[in-house]
């Protein structure tokens, strides 16, 4: 287990959203149609929440090592969208807390907050 902090960056391009959507198999137009997305109050098409979450598990693996795959827990809440053309930067600290921000907006709003643990009570 490591006491350092780790950071990961995700470029949210429309190409990546489309590619993820092909794998994910969903047809939700908020991800693909910018006119539809803007009509619903978004700046543009939005990344899938699970796509934003995917690299956060990478952070947990860096923090705890492969033991995380047999006893790890990650809990996250999405707090703001990331749109096509924007970048999410996520960090895990020494306590296993994760914070991801939209690095493309002036105030860098938090997009995901999370906690990770290894071992402990399981459901």
């Amino acid at each position: 287990m490591n006491a350092a902090t780790y950071t990961v960056s995700l470029d949210v391009t429309q190409e990546r959203i489309d590619r993820y959507g092909r794998a994910n198999g969903d047809a939700e137009q908020m991800h693909y149609d910018p006119i539809y997305a803007r009509a619903r109050g978004f700046r543009g098409t939005i990344a899938h929440g699970t796509m934003l979450a995917a690299p956060l598990v990478d952070l947990a693996l860096r923090r705890y090592g492969p033991a995380f795959l047999s006893g790890g827990r990650i809990a996250i809440k999405w707090t703001a969208p990331v749109c096509a053309g924007e970048v999410q930067v996520a960090t895990i600290d020494e306590a296993g807390r994760i914070e991801a921000v939209n690095d493309s907006l002036p105030r860098r709003p938090v997009t995901v907050r999370g906690e990770t643990t290894l071992g402990g009570p399981r459901s």
Binding site: V8, L10, D11, R16, R19, Y20, R22, A23, N24, G25, D26, A27, E28, Q29, M30, R40, H48, G49, T50, M51, A53, A54, P55, V57, D58, L61, R62, P66, F68, L69, S70, G71, G72, R73, I74, A75, I76, K77, W78, R122, S123
Partner: protein, 149 residues
């Protein structure tokens, strides 16, 4: 190979499930699917994960968050989706590695845990449990999503 599109329902305003229709305690599934190495590779490329991190005792494991692509399919066994449903929260607990170099037959079952309306928004929380077919637990995923109505 099972692709998520084969096991999830399309969002439909006419047939999608509204908040009032979710029943706490009701079970969903089972959903059976096969996770194959080719699909894991597709997921790794699409999600941009660092696959080199997922190595256990010299063997490559699949990033277990690939299971999130099959998450809603388990729910859709019982509850069809509405358009504009938005993810709010996720808890993933990993129990055993899924190997990247072999096909894995998986069965998932779900249960509606809670419903909540706050500040004019409607939230449903449910859990999916994933097991190897006839074998050990792989993961649990507890998901909270916001339903538009």
């Amino acid at each position: 190979m099972t692709r998520p599109a084969q096991v999830r329902a399309r969002e439909d305003a006419r047939t999608g499930t509204r908040f009032a229709d979710y029943v706490i305690g009701e079970r969903t599934g089972p959903l059976r699917f096969t996770l194959e190495p080719a699909f894991v590779e597709e997921y790794i490329a699409a999600a941009g994960v660092n696959a080199s991190l997922y190595r256990v005792n010299g063997r490559d494991a699949a990033p277990p968050q690939v299971l999130t692509l099959f998450l809603m399919g388990t729910l859709h066994r019982r509850y069809a989706p509405l358009p504009a449903t938005v993810m709010a929260g996720l808890v993933m607990e990993f129990h055993a590695p899924i190997w990247r170099d072999e096909s894995t037959d998986i069965v998932s079952e779900g249960k509606i845990l809670a419903k909540e309306s706050r500040r004019g928004r409607y939230y449903v929380t449910w859990r999916a449990e994933y097991r190897r077919e006839g074998g050990d637990r792989l993961a649990n995923i507890t998901n909270t999503f916001m339903v538009p109505s």
